[in-house]
Symmetry: C2
Subunit: 139 residues, 2 copies
DNA sequence: ACCAATCGCTTGGCATGCCAAGCATACCCA
DNA sequence: TGGGTATGCTTGGCATGCCAAGCGATTGGT
């Protein structure tokens, strides 16, 4: 950080703050102190504090153990981290991915469910007005 | 590095190698050289090389731009990275919440799809034949 | 035979992740 | 009033992420 003074907004990187805030809220909802979460995740409490305030971008390992300890599906955390949705077409594919990865389904069931899902989407597309369909690339 | 000698097997961390290998395969399938991928991702080619060989654990930012450039949905990469291993409960929630959040579905469709999904899960629970559930646990 | 281009890889180093130790505050109970 | 314990935060430094520069091997055109 080159910010020697001025307790300004971080303004450096938004996603970090969003992610941190989200984590903090989740932790508080679970009635956990930083040290308690620290014990569960094997991550030091100061670092957790910094992550929650958006001062650091946690590594994958850290992010996963946090998600794990807070009982938040990792995908949701990644979404918050700006990984998955955002500028992507993945919003559309999220459901498909989830179904594909679902271990509670047999292969035929998976296939059937995907079929139903796609038919719904297709139906809506044909009778739809202006749907926001951002098919695009990222810089 | 606590490995003072032995330039041999990495044997240090498996998931890293798995992830790296997966990325390398994807890149080669797309017929891209390291430098080409480097240009697309804005990540240096040496570092990509190291990641692919499992010498480093890439940050979220890096992982995302790789997934992006290779046209691989980020979730799949995370799966490979051992992040989203299916703790049954979370897998369940992932699918349901994905469906619930899917904006391409109308409310009745959402409801119907959830119904179908739940009935499948229920069916499997009573059927209970071959269980191939990879119950992953980590240190 | 040579040079040019391209491949993947190694190396040195700056930037950042992450932690151990310690500080300040607030709440309790004797 | 003073000590015990809980909270979140700051700081110094080791470990790791990540990159610019450069190297040896391979291919192909002249």
């Amino acid at each position: 950080m080159q910010n020697t003074e001025e307790p300004e907004t971080v303004e450096d990187d938004d996603p970090r703050r969003m992610l941190g805030g989200f984590i903090r809220v989740q932790r508080q909802m679970a009635n956990l102190s930083l040290r308690q979460l620290s014990a569960m995740t094997e991550i030091s409490n100061p670092y957790l504090s910094q992550v929650e305030r958006g001062l650091h971008e946690p590594s994958i390992r850290v992010l996963k153990s946090i998600a794990d300890a807070l009982n938040v599906s990792a995908e949701i955390l990644f979404e918050q981290a700006g990984l998955i949705s955002g500028t992507e077409k993945l919003g559309d594919e999220a459901t498909e991915s989830a179904i594909r990865a679902d271990q509670r389904l047999t292969d035929p069931q998976r296939h059937a469910l995907l079929g139903v899902y796609r038919s719904y989407v297709e139906t809506n597309r044909s009778g739809e007005t202006t749907r926001k369909k951002t098919t695009r690339k990222e810089a």
